[in-house]
Subunit: 369 residues, 2 copies
Amino acid sequence: MTPRPYNFSAGPAAMPAEVLQHAAGEMLDWQGSGMSVMEMSHRGQEFGRILEAAESDLRELLAVPDHFRILFMQGGGLAENAIVPLNLSRGAAVDFVITGSWSLKSLKEARRYAQARVAASNEADGHTSLPEPRTWQISEAPSYVHLCSNETINGIEVHELPDLKSLGCNAPLVIDFSSHVASRPVDWTRVGLAFGGAQKNLGPAGLTLVVVREDLIGHALPICPSAFDYKTVADNRSMYNTPPTYAIYMAGLTFQWLKRQVEGKHQGVAAMEARNMAKAALLYDFIDQSPFYENKVAPSCRSRMNVPFFLRDESRNEAFLSGAKAAGLLQLKGHKSVGGMRASLYNAMPLDGVQALVNYMRHFEMTQA
Amino acid sequence: MTPRPYNFSAGPAAMPAEVLQHAAGEMLDWQGSGMSVMEMSHRGQEFGRILEAAESDLRELLAVPDHFRILFMQGGGLAENAIVPLNLSRGAAVDFVITGSWSLKSLKEARRYAQARVAASNEADGHTSLPEPRTWQISEAPSYVHLCSNETINGIEVHELPDLKSLGCNAPLVIDFSSHVASRPVDWTRVGLAFGGAQKNLGPAGLTLVVVREDLIGHALPICPSAFDYKTVADNRSMYNTPPTYAIYMAGLTFQWLKRQVEGKHQGVAAMEARNMAKAALLYDFIDQSPFYENKVAPSCRSRMNVPFFLRDESRNEAFLSGAKAAGLLQLKGHKSVGGMRASLYNAMPLDGVQALVNYMRHFEMTQA
């Protein structure tokens, strides 16, 4: 196979080439069944095996405790912005920690269903820092506290999930982990619900992952559509409506790929974390030593997954991007709301890809001097 | 390529082998982009071209008039059961024509959002007939009238859409055309909104098609989640949330396949209709002449897409199914709520497949005598 370009898209994003090759190979006939996975009844035993394996592999990879349910849903993170308050708010107060574009969107949508208020925000510094948990102004008894644990657009990551109990709050923590799920372990003792679109680290767009503590299921508002009521979804093992079967299959292949990954003594998600730390350090260290490039996020909360950066002379942006494309480095343009560049370094991006990016950036800097 | 078995699944269902082969061939590199379609940003120009082509091909195939919008959504028909009343009911009365399992589910869900009532029903005869439009008891001024134009489980199809105006009703007709979309032309002069999951005749599960008259957009109840508000979806050209990009791509390939189909003087959906009529006639004629098999639906409203049938001696069901599988005839088991058998004859099922089924049924009947 000829080498593929390195794809830095923020999502939908690069997938492991092995996974794509495997899927292409069995597109017309899954394991002698005579059917493509796309052609199988979701109620048949063949797809049943695919779904079961995907769920149990994911549970193993993320070390999801038994008292959490894994739900495969549709609509992405933006739909969950409504679905979470429809299921968990009980129409009462909910608290939001604002860290960037995604938590702002979540807050806005939640206000349609609950008394959503801001417990902390980094808007004053342009979403470049992370408010310390001890400074959060948490309500008396919120139904939950919402935190986006990785802000894809702003490049901010929560490296240690807050312990709400230690802050005197018994409410569950809800995390939007769309853009760093499976890139590092999750401390489930600190989480009540985690949700994320699959299209960054897990598989193709069109699949939403929800991991929810069992006691939080069954409290949906009466206006919650049945297809989005966690109880209906859980009771029907993610098959109340026809699930996005092929996306689940692709995610399942990705889970198997993740389980095979080894880095030193680490395996699976721990191996990914080691690699992701090395990848991020390589890029941030290069940017920080350069007078030509800049990342504006406080070092303590920089995202390992999404690295927004700027050319100090923005008139060179177009030349940077077209040179990158010619060098086989794709989809580096920053989000329109932030500008500049963004390199997303999800699990499927190898260290070699980040090295190739750094080499290109160094070369571009030198030729522009 | 070795011949593939014939797959009679009710959905997710058989897809054209050509489409699957094409997709497998460009799984790792779409048209020299260096990316799988799964790996493309939905905001990039590559996916932009895929989405635009899918929409315009579908508009051409179904002859969708300019004053209708085509929306690509998620959640399937079951989610639309809530999304339609959230968008169209304005909290007022809505009328339902009950023809089988799917319209019953739609009614139940709509009751959460609107004053949904039954204008007509075939429950008395076990969902085997179609109430004549002139007998429908339509409300004074309903927000819409809901009709499932093909009942997948019961095998009932509406062969001529009702003209509500001629019944003295100015409300829009909403049709759930999930299981016969693109199998025949649609008379859009009689329709206000049509919705359907893609997984029967259009592509993989995880994509929902909504075709809606422009004047019906923009009236969602305040509790409608943004991701499911037709106005948000339309204003963002189906990209408010990340769309199910790969499913749209596969549907787009299916649309191109449909455009290439020719049958006599007919092309595209008209060609499919001619073929679908021939396929259905072959199977129904065989069943009707046999003392061994039975279809209970009134001939005037039998579905061309889904043919439920019974062995008069049901003790032979298991033998029938295992023999069918051995003969390369897959997924013939009937829906659990109806029992017996069901052969779904969607666009991707060739006449040869139906002939193979009839041959097998004849052979099975003879050997059991």
